[in-house]
């Protein structure tokens, strides 16, 4: 939780004369209603021994450890290793676990492969389900009404708003996630990357390529998220 920014803020305070533990070091503003509500719910549940404070801390560390770079490594491996690619498409979760990515929830992962004939897009119309163990938390736009409402009814227009024009002879398939089943897109390997190393390939794979709103491109390499 404690970022360098927080430490910097704290440096301006005199914290030298108290010794009680607290977990909100460096807070400047009075916590808002929902911040207080979250703290109260969590502390009550800990007091009642439903779980320990360390479990929340550990889960924050887990959340912090997940980001699109993990998914990018999975994609790059699938591009260079046909056997892994086949296993990934057959059972996304098992292949990711084989690759060393643990799933901290009960979800299944279905990986949809983009081809010359099919472009895939993922969405969660009901809320915000997303392959979090592999990609981290979704961006805000993925959770907002315009994307959730429109991706399933006019995906080509939605894609165009991301700058992605899908030719008419390419089928667009939209995959609506559920609490138990999550999707990830395996983007097409860009032309001209035959000589790239696996690591160089992974650098071309951004979050948005695995949601399916943009293709992987050689020039993506400088904008990896």
């Amino acid at each position: 939780m404690e970022s360098p920014d927080h430490e910097h803020e704290q440096a301006g305070h005199d914290h030298g004369d108290h010794t009680h533990p607290h977990d909100e070091v460096g807070r400047q503003d009075k916590p808002g209603y929902y911040d207080v509500l979250e703290t109260a719910v969590r502390e009550l549940l800990i007091e009642k021994k439903y779980f320990g404070a360390d479990e929340i801390r550990r889960q924050i560390e887990v959340l912090d450890s997940r980001n699109p770079a993990l998914g990018a490594r999975v994609v790059a491996r699938a591009w260079v290793d046909a056997g892994f690619r086949a296993r990934l498409l057959a059972n996304g979760r098992a292949a990711c676990e084989e690759f060393g990515i643990s799933f901290y929830d009960d979800t299944q992962l279905i990986v949809m492969e983009n081809t010359q004939a099919v472009h895939n897009l993922i969405v969660c119309t009901l809320c915000s389900c997303y392959p979090r163990p592999v990609l981290g938390l979704p961006p805000d736009w993925y959770k907002a009404k315009p994307y959730r409402a429109r991706a399933v009814i006019e995906p080509r227009k939605v894609l165009a708003e991301f700058g992605t024009i899908i030719p008419d002879d390419v089928e667009v398939r939209v995959h609506d996630s559920t609490a138990m089943v999550r999707y990830m897109v395996l983007p097409r390997r860009p032309d001209g990357t035959e000589a790239y190393s696996e690591e160089e390939l992974a650098a071309l794979v951004t979050r948005d390529t695995m949601i399916g709103v943009v293709p992987a491109r050689i020039e993506n390499g400088s904008t990896v998220q």
Binding site: M1, H18, H22, E24, R27, K30, P31, G32, Y34, D35, V36, L37, E38, T39, A40, V41, R42, E43, L44, L45, K48, Y50, F51, E55, I56, R57, Q59, I60, V62, L63, Y104, D105, V123, T125, L126, C127, S128, C129, L137, P139, D140, W141, K143, A144, K145, P146, Y147, R148, A149, R150, A151, V152, I153, V158, E161, F162, D176, A179, M180
Partner: protein, 112 residues
């Protein structure tokens, strides 16, 4: 179609296929309490206290106005509170007392 029929057919979360505004590619770094709220949701799921579908339903049960006006994690923490009341795990009174305690602690610690 009657003027209220759409309310029956579509609960607040069920927006797939509806007309909506252009995509705005928004994102933000989570506030500390938002990240704690997310971790809390995961831990509640691990302990089989509130699962993902209960969480989604709990958000939907807030009604269209709150779903529309609260932010993402605000909806979550309010839904968790309601679900915990319903399951008899927390009571509104003890939650109100604890919130007052948390605020008093901050006042004492930070002071005006």
């Amino acid at each position: 179609m009657s003027q209220t029929e759409h309310l029956v057919k579509r609960l607040p979360n069920d927006i797939g296929g509806l007309p909506a505004d252009p995509i705005v590619q928004t994102d933000h770094l989570l506030e500390p309490w938002e990240k704690r709220c997310h971790a809390l949701a995961d831990v509640l799921d691990f302990h089989k206290i509130i699962n993902t579908e209960e969480k989604r339903c709990g958000v939907e049960a807030l009604g269209a106005e709150m779903v529309g006006k609260l932010t993402y994690y605000e909806r979550w923490i309010v839904a968790f509170s309601n679900i915990l009341f319903r399951k008899g795990i927390l009571t509104p009174t003890e939650l109100a007392r604890k919130m007052a305690e948390v605020e008093a602690r901050w006042d004492e610690h930070a002071g005006p």
